[in-house]
């Protein structure tokens, strides 16, 4: 059976002023429908570049990327992206930010009333009904990120792509949003690819953790299957020896085998 997202021999070379820079090489990854994949690695290892390739914001220099057997060419609303720094338009309210996406995807086939209902439903999913009329400048960082998630989910994407979505948040807010994301993903059966640098986040959320080697010319070093049963509970996992086992495997990869080169630090 064909996989949902297929990345075959993808590589990415940037032309910079100092010459060519190979960011990614030989990336091979198959993602099944409904799977939650975490991309983890040290900063500069090209994990965001890989996500941008799937998003279509970058074009692979070599290799092929497929989404349900169609080649990925350029960005499109069937791949919802949650950006690192929320990327909400500051002159539009939370509702309007989500509505902009909904209107684009469903505007042709549905009435205004249906579009508004979709927007309201998306905001309700992330628990932000009360803040719908607020501008991004008037809500907290965690709420902004939730609007970003609502915007991506409202498009009913085939794949949800998240680029360190909780990286800029404080630890408590992050934990809260991770729990919410777990519930949302369980409810919507979304296929998710998420970039993170947080080991706990990766183990808690994902089905497989894709660990990347250090750049330049980074590639996939190892793939770890997280066979913890769902639904997962943060507190229970804290005492689960298997959870700690998985966690230390990722840590071992990151800090022993792929120790950051000293000159890069």
């Amino acid at each position: 059976m064909q996989s949902y997202v297929q990345i075959e021999n993808a590589s990415m070379v940037f032309s910079t002023k100092k010459g060519k820079f190979t960011a990614l090489t030989d990336i091979n990854l198959h993602v099944e429908q409904g799977e939650f994949i975490a991309l983890i690695g040290h900063s500069g290892c090209g994990k965001s570049t890989l996500l941008n390739l799937v998003a279509g914001l970058l074009d692979a220099t070599d290799g092929v990327l497929l989404l349900s057997n169609k080649e990925i060419k350029g960005p499109g609303p069937e791949r919802g992206v949650v950006f690192q720094n929320h990327s909400l338009l500051p002159w539009l309210s939370a509702f309007e930010n989500v509505y902009l996406a909904v209107e684009k995807v469903f505007g042709r086939s549905e009435t205004k009333k249906q579009l508004k209902a979709r927007t309201t439903a998306a905001l309700e999913l992330v628990g932000l009904t009360h803040a719908a009329a607020k501008l991004p400048g008037e809500i907290s960082g965690g709420m902004k990120q939730r609007v970003g998630i609502a915007r991506a989910l409202a498009m009913e994407p085939k794949v949800l792509l998240m680029d360190e979505p909780f990286g800029a948040l404080d630890a408590l807010t992050r934990a809260h949003l991770q729990d919410e994301l777990l519930k949302i993903v369980a409810a919507t059966q979304s296929t998710v690819i998420m970039v993170t640098h947080d080991v706990d986040e990766a183990v808690l959320l994902s089905d497989r953790i894709v660990m990347m080697t250090n750049g330049p010319a980074a590639t996939i070093g190892e793939i770890l299957t997280v066979d913890l049963p769902r639904p997962r509970e943060r507190l229970q996992l804290a005492h689960d020896p298997h959870y700690h086992d998985l966690r230390s495997k990722v840590l071992e990869f990151l800090y022993s085998r792929q120790m950051r080169p000293k000159e890069a630090a």
Binding site: A55, G74, V81, P90, W91, L92, L100
Partner: protein, 304 residues
């Protein structure tokens, strides 16, 4: 908190009887309840604080003004050809008591002169905005155009506005359009450059959102480009109106007609120095008002 709010609250507090009504119930042995003095009650404190803040915001500018007038009076005392503050004030009152008289083309009220100058600035500035803002958008959006035009802009921008006047007179043949041309050419640069800078500085994130959503060019412009660049445009507009108002006085001095600049020159020929000083204040105050009005608009569109 203003004094107007504090006083009724204070009254309520006293009238609510918290202090008075309780007094008879207190046993005679206890010390009689003291009525809270105004400066110790909550509202009284607020009143005092409000008054202090008011003083803090009013005293320094007032002091500056007084100092300015004092220096002016001192200079006027030592140099008899310059009228002092009181003399100028009397003259100004007289002048502004009838601002819209009309005794033929060379003798009109100050109001007419100001309006004429504003009209010229409006035309020249309006034309500059109509050309400069779209041009700035295009320069910001297309790198080729940017590279093509930036050497020309770099050369033309530092040219003194009045250097354009002879060209204007030559091409347009008449003084009126020539002075509008000078306003146009001197106020266009801040709008072009600021708009272009604004377009170039749109965060990549916003453009990524546009790409992920596959927004149409029209939506990109109305929902992202225009609102993102608007604050920059308004900064350009604000700088441009400052320049335009600065230049109009000089341009009118050279071209004549009706207008505040020509009026200054006319009064110089009449040796009416008080009127020249009044004109300086009028130019300053009108410029300030124009800029403040645009600041207000800019604030409305700022999302930071």
């Amino acid at each position: 908190m203003s004094a107007i709010n504090a006083t009724p609250e204070n009254l309520n507090h006293i009238l609510s009887g918290e202090d008075i009504a309780l007094t008879p119930k207190v046993p005679a042995a206890a010390a009689p309840t003291r009525r809270t003095p105004l400066f110790e009650s909550e509202s009284g404190k607020r009143l005092i604080e409000g008054t202090l803040n008011l003083f803090k915001s009013i005293i320094p500018p007032l002091l500056g003004m007084l100092l300015f007038i004092a220096v002016w009076a001192l200079i006027a005392n030592t140099n008899k050809s310059i009228p002092g503050p009181s003399e100028t004030w009397t003259s100004a009152v007289e002048l502004f008591s009838d601002p819209f008289y009309d005794n033929g083309p060379n003798d009109k009220g100050i109001g007419w002169n100001i309006l004429n100058s504003l009209y010229r600035v409006g035309l020249g500035f309006g034309a500059a905005a109509a050309v400069g803002i779209p041009l700035g958008f295009m320069i910001g959006r297309f790198d080729f155009l940017n590279r093509m035009l930036s050497p020309i802009i770099s050369i033309l921008r530092p040219v003194s506005p009045l250097a354009w006047l002879p060209i204007g007179l030559l091409v347009l043949q008449r003084a009126e359009p020539a002075s509008i041309w000078v306003i146009f050419i001197s106020s266009i640069w801040p709008m072009v450059l600021n708009t272009a800078a604004g377009v170039q500085r749109i965060p990549q994130d916003y453009m990524n959102v546009a790409r992920v959503l596959n927004l149409s060019e029209f939506k990109v412009f109305t929902k992202i480009l225009f609102p993102a660049v608007l604050p920059y445009v308004l900064t350009g507009v604000r700088l441009a109106i400052g320049v335009a108002w600065l230049v109009i006085v000089a341009a009118e001095m050279l071209t004549g007609g009706v207008g505040i600049g020509f009026w200054v020159w006319d009064e110089w020929n009449n040796l009416n120095v008080a009127h020249i000083i009044i004109a300086i204040f009028v130019v300053g105050i009108v410029g300030l008002l124009l800029e403040q009005a645009l600041m207000l608009i800019a604030k409305r569109f700022s999302y930071d």
